[in-house]
């Protein structure tokens, strides 16, 4: 812990780390100092002047340099003649602060009155109304009436699109600069700026395309008024009408903690997600999320969701069927098949993947006559997930602790496109806290900006490159400085599988694990591998399924669970598809079973850094659709299983007993929270904007293989095959890559990246 500084606020003593500003120190005592421009996640600027307080320091005798004491022996405080901004003043030993005096109250009233001279006060039609810091602080600290002549108010443009995702109301803007600072200091996309001066000062975007950033939605959360709104939520609902459910984003390996806000729609008669917002988890996403996670949710209530089971009729047409008919048919086909292949998508929750794997372990293929194989789609990440788990970062590793002395090695991956919020976190570690970043890649990514060393190789040659530089450090050009890596406090290796096939990706992961071992970092809590998986539960699904053999070309029955339009599925005489939509693949199936999305059920995901996290049901089930685990269980029962799982939690109980690493985890454990610092989800909305409290749990990272007893790290070099044409044709990661889910969000329609396209880093 950093050095503590003692100070007194309103007569109460508090000790806070050196460098803390007064606002945060007061927060520790539960004393709220109102702020507008200050935000604990942003650099202080002291612009709004809302946080003015009285500040004094111990009086020092200039002659003796001794602290002056009065007769009673108390330290005499020299009060500063002017009020000071509590958001920019850092604490010092013996400091005294007064927040409850007449002078301070008057100042707050003055500032609020000034702010309101420009503000339209159109709360009744404002999206922020009901959860607005300006509204709340005016009630709390403002003057009863405004003496400013209403007719003298300046009128500004109220519908300024800053790009297609975010709108600005120039009348409501209080010029706090939070949005600009977020873009500059956190996202590092310098696309917003103040323009003009005085009362004409306004927010503009100057990038082309406008507001070109994957993180733009966060500005609407931290905007202390209703000046910034999303194209998604704007004028859609009032905050107090919303129900909310704690959830986990299902769209990338970060696993951002989110809140799904829903409302009953009279138009459709059903519940809909009205907005997605981050939920504070300092271990995962702090209070941020990316725009994909925020705006992609429309697929959950897309018109073309599968609503009933479908079966092929005598004419070969897919027609609606009852669950009973469909399930019996599936069971019959499975029992009769000589060969079965099960393919499960890596977006499925752990519980569903676990049950699916048990069907294949305990029921199918158990009969002598039957051949059964179980596979994860996509196949490339499944080829190295076990290595990533064995040599992954430790259970207690903390992104926040990464900094000076640590080396981050990024190999063959694009952090911003694959795991946007990790980009924010790793960038902070390098830029703010001085970690050393080394990047090795065949092309440029946004992360390259912060690299102190950039190493290159030809596309598809990542595995060859890694083996070469790690094995023959002396001879490699340009060399990887092994001594620097050995000398690092910790070594975090972030890697992707771009342009690699299964063997290549596995060889790369293995070489990187070897580097950890050879450099002496394997098994350290804050060192390890961090894989840039393509989806939200790649690690979890692979943990459940285990490593697979080669995919057969043809089988009698293929059972596809949530694979979308995957290419890596075998040919089959009979195809079963569980999905949300009638994808091209599902349209060719013989039985199609409608599944529920993550928003309509509960379950757990395991993030790319092996944090197991719960998500809760936000929406009622759609029509006849069922959770995948239910479908799997019903089929299993028809194959003779005695299972009677009542829900995901019950399955999780058996899962933790069976799957290495998950032992000890329970739903209650995953639901535990501890106070997050800085505290941002409390009733005092002004502090963190409208970011929600985390009451649903912080989740827990299970130990890496190296942390488990009986595991011995060992160096092993795998042959790295030359890249295949197929591998070289694999599209590079792109956040907005066209796909079944994103395609159904009208909000993101203008952002889709076609299969062959490479996202531009133009910023």
């Amino acid at each position: 812990m950093a050095d503590l500084v003692n100070l007194t606020i309103d007569g109460r003593l508090v000790a806070v780390p050196k460098g803390t500003v007064i606002v945060d120190a007061a927060k520790k005592l539960g004393i709220d100092i109102p702020v507008f421009c200050y935000h604990p996640k942003l650099k202080p600027v002291g612009m709004c002047r809302m946080c003015l307080v009285e500040v004094g320091t111990p009086k020092v005798d200039p002659a003796t340099k001794q602290v002056v004491k009065d007769e009673a022996g108390n330290v005499v405080i020299a009060w500063m003649p002017k009020l000071q901004t509590a958001c920019t003043t850092t604490v010092s030993e013996g400091m005294s602060v007064r927040t409850n005096t007449r002078q301070v109250a008057d100042a707050r009233e003055d500032i609020l009155e000034f702010l309101l001279t420009s503000h339209p006060l159109d709360c009744p039609i404002c999206d922020k109304g009901g959860e607005c810091p300006l509204q709340n602080l005016t009630m709390g600290y403002g003057p009863g009436v405004s003496r400013f002549d209403y007719d003298a108010k300046q009128h500004n443009d109220k519908h300024v699109p800053l790009g297609d995702l975010i709108f600005l109301d120039r009348e409501r803007c209080i010029q706090c600069g939070r949005c600009v600072r977020f873009q500059d200091d956190v996202a590092d996309d310098h696309v917003l700026q103040f323009h003009e001066r005085g009362r004409h000062m306004e927010i503009i975007t100057f990038s082309d395309p406008p507001f070109d950033s994957y993180f733009s939605g966060n500005t609407t959360d931290i905007c202390p008024v209703g000046a910034l709104t999303t194209a998604d939520f704007r004028f859609k609902a009032r905050p107090w009408e919303l129900a909310s459910a704690q959830s986990v984003c299902a769209h990338c390996p970060v696993g951002c903690n989110i809140t799904l806000n829903t409302r009953l729609e009279t138009r459709t008669g059903g519940y809909e997600i009205k907005r997605v917002m981050p939920r504070q988890n300092e271990q995962v996403n702090e209070i941020w999320m990316c725009d994909k996670g925020r705006f992609v949710h429309h697929f959950t209530r897309a018109e073309d969701r599968l609503k009933t089971p479908l079966m092929r009729d005598a004419n070969g047409q897919l027609v609606e069927a009852t669950w009973e008919d469909a399930l019996s048919r599936v069971a019959r086909e499975l029992s009769a098949a000589a060969s079965v292949a099960g393919v499960i998508g890596d977006r499925l929750p752990n519980e569903d993947a676990f049950l699916f794997a048990r069907v294949f372990r305990d029921l199918l293929g158990a009969a002598v006559q039957q051949q059964a194989g179980l596979f994860v789609s996509p196949r490339v990440p499944a080829a190295y997930a076990d290595i990533a788990r064995d040599y992954g970062i430790g259970a207690t590793a903390d992104f926040k602790a990464l900094g000076k002395g640590d080396v981050i090695l990024l190999v063959n991956g694009d952090v911003e496109e694959s795991a946007p919020v990790w980009f924010l976190r790793l960038r902070q570690a390098v830029v703010e806290r001085g970690a050393t970043l080394i990047v090795a890649h065949s092309r440029s990514t946004k992360m390259h900006r912060y690299a102190s060393q950039i190493l290159r190789y030809d596309a598809g040659q990542a595995a060859q490159w890694a083996e070469h530089v790690i094995r023959n450090t002396q001879h490699a050009t340009p060399p990887l400085d092994l001594e620097q890596i050995k000398g690092a406090r910790n070594l975090l290796i972030v890697f992707g599988d771009e342009k690699l096939n299964e063997a290549g990706a596995r060889a790369l992961a293995r070489s990187l694990a070897n580097l950890l071992i050879l450099a002496g970092h394997a098994g350290k809590a804050s060192s390890g591998l961090l894989p840039l998986y393509p989806h939200a539960n790649t690690q979890g699904v692979c943990d459940m399924v285990g490593r697979a053999g080669p995919l057969p070309e043809r089988v009698d029955v293929a059972w596809l669970v949530g694979v979308g339009d995957a290419e890596d599925v075998p040919q089959a005489a009979f195809v079963i598809a569980q999905d949300l939509f009638l994808t091209d693949l599902a349209a060719r199936a013989d039985v199609v079973l409608p599944a529920l999305s993550f928003a309509e059920r509960d379950g757990t995901f395991t993030s790319g850094d092996r944090r197991v996290q719960r998500f809760y049901r936000a929406l009622p089930p759609l029509a006849q659709a069922k959770p995948d685990w239910w479908i799997i269980q019903e089929i299993a029962r028809r194959l003779g299983a005695k299972w009677r799982y009542s829900g995901a939690e019950a399955i999780f109980g058996d899962l933790t007993a069976a799957v290495a690493g998950y032992a000890g985890l329970t739903y209650p454990v995953l639901s535990e929270t501890v106070e997050q610092w800085p505290p941002m989800g409390r009733a005092d909305l002004y502090y963190g904007g409208t970011v929600y409290d985390n009451t649903g749990g912080l989740g827990m990272r299970y130990p890496a293989g190296v942390e488990q007893t009986g595991f011995t790290p060992h160096v092993e070099w795998l042959p790295a095959p030359e890249p295949t044409v197929d591998a070289l044709r694999r599209p590079v990661p792109a956040l907005y890559r066209d796909g079944e889910l994103i395609r159904r969000s009208h909000v993101l329609a203008g952002h889709l990246i076609a299969p062959g396209e490479i996202p531009v880093l133009a910023k």
């Binding site: 009020l83 920019t88 003055d110 500032i111 000034f114 010029q175 001066r197 005085g198 009362r199």
Partner: protein, 425 residues
């Protein structure tokens, strides 16, 4: 004082030419410093001279230089030639007529703190002076007085001119730095102070043009010589810009503390038609207005402060009894409203609100409550602004309300009307 120290163009014709400047001790201090003085010695002599900043705040120049850390490179010298304060035109004359002395002062400062780059930031309207200055800089380069390996000493110095884009706030040192960096011209949070993290977050000295013009004679003749002028706490000479209702507006270089405001007005030819003085703005619009009773105040930092105002940039705008004080105050507030950078709430909103009230009052629609409100708005701003501009903006309001309240009352009682008022434009 028989000769000018700064406005030497008044004594030596064509001193703006390098040859003439050099023939009259020009660059002698520069040669002396480079060849015979350590950087610390230059800092020391300026410190001993007691030279105070001429940009407004009066901060001791040598002390400021001594804050520059020795071991961080690069460092910068930035010359503040924004000269935007109402009624200020001293730097203009120096740059136009005695540019080499400004260059030499800049160079001495750079050598003293071991900077190799200096920027001279001029207000955008100084297009002509910037050309004169650039020619002078070019001549100095050609003569080997600037550039690489100056006078064979191995010391390098480049001086660049940058023109602002027309914002009063860019005269404030941190806003100036932002502007110089190509950012929006808004003041920055302090600390860190420019001496620690200034231009491009590197140690930076910022001094006013006039401040630096004092440095060559100080280095050449020594601190004691300099201290023969002025007072103990305000040593040296200062250029007083006199304007307003006087017969001979212009720059007057005088030793600090020797003369009174009354004598200054006399030097400027007295008031037009010998009318009685009503009010004195000692630092343009940025310091409290003084009533005629302050005419015998001595012209130095301490005396002006004791009289309830500030010496600031010493831009004396003289108002006689034909000037309507409410009109004058309104004009100043309009200036601040126009120049408020918008960064902080009280200044951005307060200047706007105050202006609305002035408009109401001078349109004949005002009431006594509006006059009260004016004072309240100014008091609500006072002490709460991010930078001094917002605090300055309260000066014309509060000081005119204090000394000339009946004039406001005349406006709102109907005794004075827009039609009846004679406005100087």
């Amino acid at each position: 004082m028989d000769k000018h120290i700064l406005l030497r163009d008044l004594d030596v014709p064509n001193i703006r030419e390098l040859a003439v400047y050099q023939a009259n001790d020009g660059y002698a201090a520069w040669r002396k410093a480079l060849t015979a003085m350590k950087p610390e010695e230059v800092v020391a002599v300026v410190k001993d001279s007691g030279l105070r900043g001429r940009g407004g705040a009066g901060f001791p120049a040598g002390l400021k230089w001594s804050f520059i850390p020795k071991d961080i490179f690069p460092k910068y010298v930035v010359v503040n030639g924004d000269e935007s304060e109402a009624g200020t035109f001293k730097d203009h004359q120096l740059l136009d007529n005695n540019p080499h002395q400004v260059i030499e002062g800049t160079a001495l400062c750079a050598y003293a703190v071991q900077a190799n780059t200096a920027y001279i930031y001029l207000r955008g309207e100084f297009l002509e002076p910037s050309r004169t200055l650039q020619r002078a800089i070019d001549d100095a380069y050609a003569a080997g007085l600037l550039g690489q390996n100056i006078l064979g000493t191995g010391y390098n110095l480049d001086i660049h001119i940058h023109l602002g884009a027309g914002a009063y706030i860019c005269g404030e040192e941190t806003a100036l730095l932002s502007s110089l960096e190509g950012q929006l011209g808004q003041p920055r949070l302090r600390p860190p102070f420019p001496a620690v993290q200034g231009l491009y977050a590197k140690p930076t000295v910022i001094n006013n043009v006039e401040t630096l013009a004092n440095v060559p004679p100080i280095v050449l003749n020594g601190a004691q010589w300099y201290r023969q002028f002025g007072t103990e706490k305000s040593p040296g000479t200062k250029i007083f810009c006199v304007s307003g209702r006087v017969n001979r507006p212009g720059n007057y270089e005088l030793p600090l503390g020797q003369y009174t405001i009354r004598e200054l007005i006399d030097m400027a030819g007295g008031t037009i038609d010998n009318r009685p003085v009503k009010g004195i703005l000692p630092a343009g619009s940025s310091a409290p207005i003084l009533p005629a009773s302050a005419l015998d105040t001595k012209l130095d930092y301490e005396s002006m402060q004791a009289a309830g105002s500030l010496l600031g940039s010493a831009s004396f705008v003289i108002l006689d009894d034909t000037v309507d004080i409410v009109w004058a105050a309104r004009k100043m507030v309009r200036f601040f409203k126009h120049e408020s950078c918008g960064k902080c709430t009280p200044c951005r909103e307060g200047t706007h609100w105050a202006m609305k009230l002035y408009d109401k009052i001078v349109s004949g629609q005002g009431s006594l409550q509006d006059v009260e409100m004016l004072g309240e708005v100014a008091n609500s701003m006072a002490g709460k602004c991010f930078c001094l501009l917002g605090e300055f903006a309260t000066s014309p309001i509060l000081s005119t309300l204090k000394h000339f309240r009946p004039e406001y009352e005349a406006w709102v009682s109907g005794a004075k009307t827009p039609a009846g008022a004679s406005f100087h434009t």
